[in-house]
């Protein structure tokens, strides 16, 4: 299956805005994050939050074909 990855803030600076990935069916968000950290260990220092199709999810969330998966640090909007 293919999913679209998106990165924001510190993660965007390290990994770019995003990319498409081919994954095995049933891959969880947490497993995908672990594989990203293996590829680029420096990002493992970032506290990360996950969203799938614009909704927050836990690491155990299973991905599906066509999902948009966003990785970002804790938010800091507001004045």
């Amino acid at each position: 299956m293919r999913v679209q990855l998106r990165f924001f803030a510190t993660l965007r600076e390290q990994l770019g805005t995003g990319e498409e990935r081919a994954l095995r069916a049933g891959t969880t968000v947490g497993a995908l994050w672990e594989s990203l950290v293996r590829e680029q260990p420096g990002i493992g220092r970032v506290r990360v939050r996950f969203a799938v199709n614009e909704r927050y999810v836990d690491p155990s969330h299973q991905l599906a074909e066509g999902d948009e998966v966003a990785f970002f640090p804790p938010v800091s909007g507001g004045g």
Binding site: R6, F8, A9, T10, R12, R45, V46, R47, A51, E54, R55, Y56, A70, F72, P73, P74, V75, S76, G77, G78, G79
Partner: protein, 154 residues
């Protein structure tokens, strides 16, 4: 007037938010503005720079407005967050709430800005004299660079 939940690079136009929450049944309107200040944690701030996951951020703002209307007898909510560079003295966020009476308008508006800062996917990078730093608990490491350690923004 249509709902107003927006993320954009332009200066926030307060009048548009006030128009969006105007309603003849309301007797109180509360407007919160979050503004770039010239210092933070001992640093001389020159500007802030915001980034958003815009589609999700607008969805989350709508959800917060719905939740606020469930919790308090308020009438309308409008929220606007600026992205890109926000110079000192200009507003990065505006929230307007209208209600029959002031107590619920104040309470809901306070709750909305607190929740926005907790869950709406927007990030703030502070530019100060001598460097830049992303604001918020971005680093999970127990010992981030001391000089850049910041627990809370805004």
């Amino acid at each position: 007037m249509a709902e107003l939940f927006e993320i954009g690079k332009a200066r926030i136009e307060v009048e548009r938010l006030l128009a969006a929450v105007a309603d003849p049944a309301t007797g109180a309107t509360v407007l919160f503005l979050g503004t770039t200040r010239n210092q933070n944690a001992g640093r001389r701030v020159t500007r802030l720079e915001y980034e958003a996951y815009a589609t999700m951020a607008k969805r989350e703002m709508r959800e917060l407005a719905r939740e606020a209307r469930r919790r308090w007898p308020i009438k309308r909510v409008a929220m606007s967050h600026r992205i890109g560079v926000v110079p000192v003295g200009e507003s990065s966020v505006a929230i307007a709430v209208s209600a029959g009476h002031r107590d619920e308008a104040f309470t809901a508006c306070h709750w909305l800005i607190d929740r926005l800062k907790e869950i709406v996917p927007i990030w703030k990078k502070e530019h100060f004299r001598g460097g830049t730093v992303w604001i918020g608990p971005q680093q999970g490491s127990p010992e981030p660079p001391r000089r850049l350690r910041v627990n809370r923004g805004g």
